[in-house]
Symmetry: C2
Subunit: 810 residues, 2 copies
Amino acid sequence: MESMMIYMPAILAVIGLIFMWVKRSWVLKQDAGDGKMKDIASHIYEGALAFLNAEYKLLSFFVIGASIALAGIAYIVPTTHYLIIVAFIFGAFFSALAGNMGMKIATQSNVRTTQAARTSLPQALKVSFGGGTVMGLGVAGLAVLGLTAFFILFFHYFMGGVWTDTTQMTVVLETLAGFSLGAESIALFARVGGGIYTKAADVGADLVGKVEAGIPEDDPRNPATIADNVGDNVGDVAGMGADLFGSYVATVLAAMVLGNYIIKDMGGNIVDAGFGGIGPILLPMAIAGAGIIISIIGTLLVKISSNSAKEAEVQKALNIGNWTSIGLVAVASYFLVTWMLPKETLTMGFFVGGAEGFEYMDISSIRVFYACLVGIVVGGVISAVTEYYTGLGKKPVLSIVQNSSTGAGTNIIAGLATGMISTFFSVLLFAFAIWASYAFAGFYGVALAASAMMATTAMQLAIDAFGPIADNAGGIAEMSELPAEVRERTDILDSVGNTTAATGKGFAIASAALTSLALFAAYVTFTGIDGINIFKAPVLAMLFIGGMVPVVFSALAMKSVGKAAMKMVEEVRRQFKNIPGIMEGTAKPEYDKCVAISTEAALKEMLLPGVLTIGFPIAIALIPMLFGYENVLIAEMLGGYMAGVTVSGVLWAIFQNNAGGAWDNAKKSFEAGVLINGVMTYKGSEAHKAAVTGDTVGDPFKDTSGPSMNILIKLTCLIGLVIAPILGGHTETDIPNEGASIEMEQNINANDAEDLSEEIQVNMTSEGNKTIAKVRITTTRKGETKVQQKTFTGTKAEVEKQVQALKDKA
Amino acid sequence: MESMMIYMPAILAVIGLIFMWVKRSWVLKQDAGDGKMKDIASHIYEGALAFLNAEYKLLSFFVIGASIALAGIAYIVPTTHYLIIVAFIFGAFFSALAGNMGMKIATQSNVRTTQAARTSLPQALKVSFGGGTVMGLGVAGLAVLGLTAFFILFFHYFMGGVWTDTTQMTVVLETLAGFSLGAESIALFARVGGGIYTKAADVGADLVGKVEAGIPEDDPRNPATIADNVGDNVGDVAGMGADLFGSYVATVLAAMVLGNYIIKDMGGNIVDAGFGGIGPILLPMAIAGAGIIISIIGTLLVKISSNSAKEAEVQKALNIGNWTSIGLVAVASYFLVTWMLPKETLTMGFFVGGAEGFEYMDISSIRVFYACLVGIVVGGVISAVTEYYTGLGKKPVLSIVQNSSTGAGTNIIAGLATGMISTFFSVLLFAFAIWASYAFAGFYGVALAASAMMATTAMQLAIDAFGPIADNAGGIAEMSELPAEVRERTDILDSVGNTTAATGKGFAIASAALTSLALFAAYVTFTGIDGINIFKAPVLAMLFIGGMVPVVFSALAMKSVGKAAMKMVEEVRRQFKNIPGIMEGTAKPEYDKCVAISTEAALKEMLLPGVLTIGFPIAIALIPMLFGYENVLIAEMLGGYMAGVTVSGVLWAIFQNNAGGAWDNAKKSFEAGVLINGVMTYKGSEAHKAAVTGDTVGDPFKDTSGPSMNILIKLTCLIGLVIAPILGGHTETDIPNEGASIEMEQNINANDAEDLSEEIQVNMTSEGNKTIAKVRITTTRKGETKVQQKTFTGTKAEVEKQVQALKDKA
């Protein structure tokens, strides 16, 4: 059993995918309604496909370009293997495939949900949540399958399927990082492009339809209405799916990297209970695999029985499934940790006081389980905090409602302030998570906290994707002019979906933050630096620049929405003017043109933010190289940049998401009526108009720039991880079987005068005709010890000359 | 000459103060007008005094409380001397005195400017700029005089007026830090409290006066109008003055600390051209002193001759004065650097690659001058960048104007985006400043870049303070119903004042940012840590928390404005209702009640942000101590927090100031009319209303929360600096004449097995009956060296027992 454990996560993933396929068949077998319903649904379905096809075209160019760049890295860096390109392409392909399947099922479940809602609410929930389940299991199954399959492949290719040493495993994991990078690149397109798409379509449809032409939302006469409905799926289904796909893969990968580091700390070989000495590396994959089965159990628990159920019962059904799966992950983590890790203790390097303070400690392996618990708890609490700051009827939203009575200005200030203040508990919670999970089990603990939190991804995504399906179902009911009771039933589902959307966003931020931290830790181990010292001016400068990038990125995303929406407005105006009979309902609008415009504008507008995301880390690595900076310093600079992006990105993600969510619900509060200064106030009042203005600002916050932060911080850290081998790290030790090696070590006491002593250690290795000398100079001056490291690369003669010069100088 | 150089800056400061007094007498001798003018002006003057008196009352309590806390620190930490309390009280007193003088002259110059404007624009400029000059020289003169006088005092008290060693000088400078802390505490009250005051009065006056009662701005029938006019002085004169006073003192102090560190790096003694071996410490004071005289020259150049001059000529006159003084500072820096620093080279420790990489380098002292140039250039460019993003007629403001045509929502989005994008160049510029000035001359270079930039503080402040004086003058002209030509003349001055206000804010942010960096560097040298490694989880957690604090602080400040404004609204409504004849002009409103309400609300509302600012760093230092964390680690955690606050604070300062400034000018653009979609659009249009909403959001951004960031980041770093001695640092070496000392050093090679060697170094010192042992354990394991440091404190027997236990374990 134990020796086969490496295959287990992949097998569980396949089981998840089989279950998904069964569920998918069931959903597709449901009645898809008739006449107008079918017609509208097919427009949405085709619009979604149109967006996907356009996206894939752009993606192909991007994947080709990035592959060439990766080939360049593989050419320059001896330890980076060309297989990273294969992993990258498959990472992109798997993520795109998951998105494709998710979009298709979502745009097929919607009309079936409408049809089910004609007779039964429980059945409507079953269909819509079934669609969500297909999406969730598709994403989680493909993520785990892809990652584990490539791990098995590379483990056999590079190491023959048996443990050799941590250096070889590092090569395996560095190559595997390509898969994660591929997946996250797709997320950039889906989340950022999708975020722009959905808001451009929404704003465009509203501005001309509602405001200029005076027709209601979801009216089939509005040429942009299909684009709007497609947008819900593009943003909340495909975008969220790709986001979590990326987090899932990156978290597990980072935990594997740090697991390998534990083995290194324990002397390069460990004895475990039969897992071939790679227990700490397999553990995160095993938790991910178990999470898929647990999520299936969770989804099976989501059902209601009464046709007259209200929001509370639907929410309760979702909660039961959710909390059960979270609880089961905790239990599974306990058994997996105690089973798979070395029985007695783990040896880990911990940082203690002082810049050079580092201590090896023996810790009980159960502490890894405690770290998992930290992740699970933080994931839950952060969702609750998000729900508090954005929920209907809660104090922050009520306060925004009150501030709407004095106009849009005070409404905006209240909304901004709410988003800003909401960072307080969220950030304290993250700080606690970092601190506690590290205290329990080092950075391996941080990565496993993230892995345990992400284990229920399939379940989370099922809950998330169900919302837009229900929303679409309502839209179809409206457009098809079905009886009011149908819309009432879908509205119950939609309303619950709005709540789950908010908590889902909290979960996505938490996952992105913890993923970035895990990647950050993995980055440091890959580069082989001892830490990132922000007291060094260039590192501090990069921390500043890193802090700035999320702010500028958000601004660009917000502006993109405005530009894309304007193009949509022009097209809708053109159709109203040029197609006679549209307003009378006798002529059909050209829905596909609007879809095409939103698609093109979105994909075009995401270029600049994309370039910013990818370009900055690469520039920070390359430009100082041209100036002859040492690799170790560049590695620290890039690390400082990554930290800046993560800290600032998490802040702006929370700020924008929660402000946007709070504005949205402040506006919705007016639908049922709110008490302002003792007067019941409804839609259409001046206060409501002010709240609508707030929501206009909040829309790009919560659907475009806010969620984009997740991708920005993860992708930044992943690019850092892929660049890491260029910046040195394990190149100091020679790669067996890839070149002759000579090693020499010399200790020279240059000067034993009373208050100055200098010691030079030289470690010289060669690969092919390239020689690398790593020189370590320890200077003790007036009792203070300073250590300098220098690396020389070149032909053997050149390097020896430089080392000799250094010795002569000493 | 050289040996008297220590007194020179103080003498130059006194010359500045004498010139200020002469100028003040001249301004007060000008005609203060007659009748109604005099009446209104005296209301404003008394309102300003009322605010100051209330503030001083609160301040006294704060100063007493803080003094007790400092006494506690002095009691616990042997190297912190009780004199720090004296320095603290005088720092607070000097800053308050400067604010008091500034507020008085500003509220006396305003009516004299109005009177002068009745006949002559050149004379009106002379009076208003004269008032500004008094303010500028008062602030700069008292800052330099106070700092240098206390340095001379402590230098004689602790060292007998002659150089002994760097440890003693550290005690001098740590005690001097109290002066800086006192000054910055006043800035907290003036900037944050003042920011809340000015906006509460402004919003309150507008909401009831303009909106409800329909009377124009600055109408004497509005009870809040005096509070509003007082507010301009409280925020822009006293607030800005205290902000720059704090920056000025802190920058010079930090540069002195780093100058002392250079002497340490050079072996503890240097040979300079007769400055008693403290040339690097005196240099920043000398530059500050020279800056005062240079600023006087600059102010003398500001004049116009034609009575029909327009904005451009007034702006040109100010520019000539400004650029001349900046140029002269560059020249003066060159001569002072080459004269006062050791002739040949300076030895400095630089960080190079690797966490432990540190290198001593000999650099030419002229490179310190290059660092000064970096500061001067960055100060100028940042003002230009601010002017671009917030200036009338520039692309960003025009874009906000265009976006106003589609409503308040799009106006807000455009304003937010402008503020966010404006961080791009500003942050790149800061990153460049850090990098370049460090590359030229280490952190001493960073501090001197800041010092050189701040040298023209008197001139900058004269330009800044002139704006609100002109604004007030216009208000008085309006309220006194003077002929339109008077208002036209003051409007020219006011319009130029708006531009200088924007660039002045840019200068204040740049100064706060560079000051914080210099303090940050000084902090690291005080604590004696080797760096701040954000790869340590607790340090990273603090970086996150630090990043969050400016966001929450801003939100609290924004909310405070809303609350305080509501109280003002209620009071104005009450007066309109209860005092018959107000609207007919037959009864006088109770101006003083409104002033009192604004004052009380502002001072009350600033408590929570104040507690946040002061409480967090103290909690971060104390809480881990209770958990037994090592001091070195706590020092790094606090450093991580400081870095987080600085990076995030600078970003939010730029974002909020520039967004607020841009919204303000977008609104003002409608006064002259703007072309939107080919139609000239003016005040009163729908687009203008949208722009007014944007300005409502922007007001607290640019006048309250934005400028508060400066204080937050400086005060955080200063508190860190004052706490630093608690966290260790130079307590390892014994303080001469304060206790018996024993020293022992032992090298123990515990284990010389092939791949593990351990070396323990013990340094034991005692003070009174307290013994401190600093243990350094160097472990070499598989070729990797790790160094741990541990500190034990207690009785001699206890400490020896602990050290022995450690040796036995090894």
